[in-house]
């Protein structure tokens, strides 16, 4: 999970499958008005694609998808996009998230509502995806071979190398 897999089958299959999962996630976010789904489900699907690449290729090789340091700032941007879209409508005199109150010249009111909902869905999807990836990265932040058995490392004990073992075997 923390290192690149040795199996060529897992590498090729996860590389092909992750793109399909992410494409379906984008579809679910964009079609959230008409069909089941929306920002949360689409964001979870996007996160599933990223986590699949993290599990197959290790953390260092899959930083180009969502890097570990950029996850929480991107989540903040997503939450700001979600709440800020609602607050803009307050500035134009409407209720919170009453998108029709925003006067956009040349665009009818239903189309403004359409794009307002789409913007909110994008914000939710971005926040959910990055937060789920950040939780996964934090859970695997310490590789098992660097972990010390029995809690915190003791300074007084002699530096015996920690026994390297595969945790997925008993």
């Amino acid at each position: 999970m923390t290192h690149k897999s040795v199996s060529i089958i897992i590498l090729v299959a996860s590389r092909a499958l992750a793109r399909v999962i992410q494409l379906f996630g984008i579809y679910v976010i964009i079609h959230g008005h008409y069909s089941p789904g929306g920002g949360f489900q689409g964001g979870a699907l996007l996160a599933a694609g990223v986590i699949l690449m993290r599990m197959a290729y290790g953390r260092e090789a899959s930083q180009s998808e969502v890097s570990t340091g950029a996850a929480i700032p991107l989540a903040s941007i997503g939450a700001l996009l979600f709440a800020g879209t609602g607050l803009i409508t307050l500035a134009f005199g409407g209720h919170y998230m009453d998108y029709g109150a925003v006067p956009v010249p040349g665009i009818e009111e239903p189309i403004v509502r359409y794009y307002g909902i789409l913007l909110v869905e994008f914000g939710i999807g971005l926040a959910v995806m990055t937060v789920l990836v950040a939780i996964f990265d934090d859970m695997l932040s310490v590789p098992p071979e660097e972990r010390v058995e029995g809690g915190a490392p003791d300074e007084s004990s002699d530096p015996v190398p920690v026994e390297r073992r595969n945790p997925m075997t008993r």
């Binding site: 999970m1 089941p36 789904g37 949360f40 489900q41 979870a44 699907l45 996160a47 599933a48 986590i51 599990m55 789920l132 939780i135 996964f136 859970m139 695997l140 310490v142 098992p144 972990r147 945790p167 997925m168 075997t169 008993r170």
Partner: protein, 81 residues
């Protein structure tokens, strides 16, 4: 015909739940819990709640199962009780 599918799904739900509770191997238990969640999602869809079933399938079977596996990866696979 629909009730036949639902009876099969309920039996699968009961089987996976008992398996997840009784098995000694934690990795097998996490896999059984994931199968329980996916069966639950299919039951939601058969009841007509498409959105709830979709959320259950994505979050329960896609994300939470991976978190279980990551937690087992950081600790140990066998139980000690």
């Amino acid at each position: 015909m629909n009730w036949l599918v639902e009876i099969v799904l309920y039996l699968l739900l009961l089987t996976t739940a008992l398996l997840a509770l009784s098995v000694r191997d934690l990795l097998a238990g996490a896999a059984a819990a994931t199968a329980f969640t996916f069966t639950m999602a299919l039951l939601f869809i058969s009841m007509g709640a498409i959105d709830v079933g979709f959320t259950e399938a994505v979050v329960g079977a896609g994300i939470v199962g991976v978190y279980f596996f990551a937690a087992i990866y950081q600790t140990s696979r066998g139980t000690r009780d």
